[in-house]
């Protein structure tokens, strides 16, 4: 079954374990940690409340980054469902970075190539290291139900 990320900002405690897990999984040159593909953004909702939002590539079906890339450096891995960036095909034009509407592809300053989430070969490490359940990796149907019908979910929880 195909899986999807299910992200719940209200559960995120901004510990950034996911960012570390990602950076170490994608080590760049000489084993240095790479740039994390997941980003925890903390914003002030009001005077008393902070919201922590995990941001990660959602592998758009019609991905703007892949559409704009003139060398086809962004290709689907059909086994994992990830849209993967291939350094070898990339000519560093920066078009993909400007094209992604969510800011989920950007350059790693060490390698000077764009990086994006590749779903860790189908087994996302950020999810494994998230202690609070803010990012989970669920079968498509389940993630979908949670996403579009939060009220049903909420009722089921209070039962």
């Amino acid at each position: 079954m195909e899986n999807r990320f299910h992200v719940r900002p209200e559960l995120c405690i901004a510990c950034k374990s996911c960012e570390l897990a990602c950076a170490f999984t994608h080590s760049s040159l000489q084993g240095q940690p790479g740039k994390s593909r997941i980003n925890i953004k903390v914003i002030k909702a009001d005077e008393s409340r902070l919201i922590n939002t995990p941001l990660i590539c959602l592998q758009c079906d019609e991905a703007a980054c892949a559409t704009i890339c003139p060398t086809n450096a962004l290709q689907w891995n059909l086994e994992t469902g990830a849209l993967v960036h291939h350094d070898l095909r990339c000519v560093r034009c920066h078009l993909c970075v400007a094209a992604c509407p969510f800011g989920n592809i950007y350059f790693d300053p060490v390698t000077d190539y764009p990086v994006k989430c590749d779903l860790c070969d189908g087994d996302p490490m950020c999810v494994k290291f998230c202690p609070s359940g803010a990012i989970t990796w669920l079968p498509l149907t389940e993630a979908e139900v949670n996403r579009i019908q939060p009220e049903i979910n909420e009722e089921a929880d209070t039962d």
């Binding site: 900002p9 209200e10 980003n39 953004k41 559409t67 291939h86 920066h94 970075v97 800011g103």
Partner: protein
């Protein structure tokens, strides 16, 4: 899938794949200066030469440029035999004579034990090895702004008449793929200069930082790749902030529903 032997090891590779790709997948390092996966292989530098033979060849061997040679069933490949090394050394010796100041060539030559060229060194030789990767990328992507001009010793890569070219969109892709770093460009703030031509860079519509795109690139590639131009207006940081806001508005709204 075909089965072949590389340096004594049996390997499977997808039919039609070029030998160079198969070799690299085995983590075997061979130099390949004029190769880039974004464009068709061309076989200009000859450094990726390897030795091939077959059981049926009775000891006969052949030398082929692996970037241009598709894998075949039963092929027996040596990537570093003494003859292959000799061929590569000759090429590097020549390259070192014509581009004596190139760090890339110096380093590669010294890896093969060549510290000084045995040919007459062209002290004024620039770093361009005339591999044509820049011109191929520029023309395969449809811009066609640069080409090799002149002949013989004067041959070089340039725009027509060494003048700013109307076809150049200032993408710097030629410079990005050049294996020796011969093509230079200047970039300061929102200004970029390449091939005698000055470009303004697009600033993020939110924060003003450079998107590292010229308006010419925006127009050209959005049309070529069929993505509306207004996708290409903001930097990743600003878009992340907007995504967070949007995300949280959606969540707030769904809480209201409850």
């Amino acid at each position: 899938m075909v089965t072949l032997t590389i340096n004594g090891k049996q390997i499977k590779a997808p039919a039609g794949e070029m030998l160079l790709e198969t070799i690299r997948r085995q983590d075997i390092e061979i130099p390949a200066l004029c190769h880039h996966a974004a464009v068709e292989p061309f076989g200009a530098c000859r450094l990726c030469t390897v030795e091939i033979t077959r059981q049926s060849w009775d000891g006969w061997k052949n030398y082929v440029t692996s970037c241009l040679f598709p894998v075949e069933e039963g092929l027996i490949v040596q990537t570093h035999s003494s003859e292959v090394t000799r061929i590569r050394c000759t090429i590097l010796d020549l390259l070192l004579a014509s581009s004596p100041n190139s760090r890339v060539i110096q380093d590669l030559a010294s890896e093969y034990g060549i510290l000084a060229s045995s040919y007459v060194v062209d002290a004024a030789g620039d770093d361009c090895i005339l591999c044509g990767l820049c011109t191929r990328v520029c023309s395969e992507l449809g811009m066609n702004a640069i080409a090799t001009v002149e002949r013989g010793r004067l041959k070089k890569v340039d725009t027509p008449f060494s003048e700013p070219s109307a076809s150049c969109i200032g993408c710097t892709i030629c410079a990005q793929v050049c294996p020796t770093g011969h093509i230079r460009f200047e970039e300061r703030g929102l200004k970029r200069k390449i091939w005698y031509k000055e470009f303004k860079l697009i600033a993020c519509s939110e924060c003003g930082r450079s998107l590292k795109l010229t308006p010419e690139m925006k127009q050209y590639f959005s049309e070529r790749q069929q993505l509306p131009e207004d996708y290409l207006e903001q930097c990743a940081d600003c878009k992340q902030k907007q995504t967070v806001d949007r995300f949280n508005r959606i969540i707030d709204r769904s809480e209201e529903v409850i």
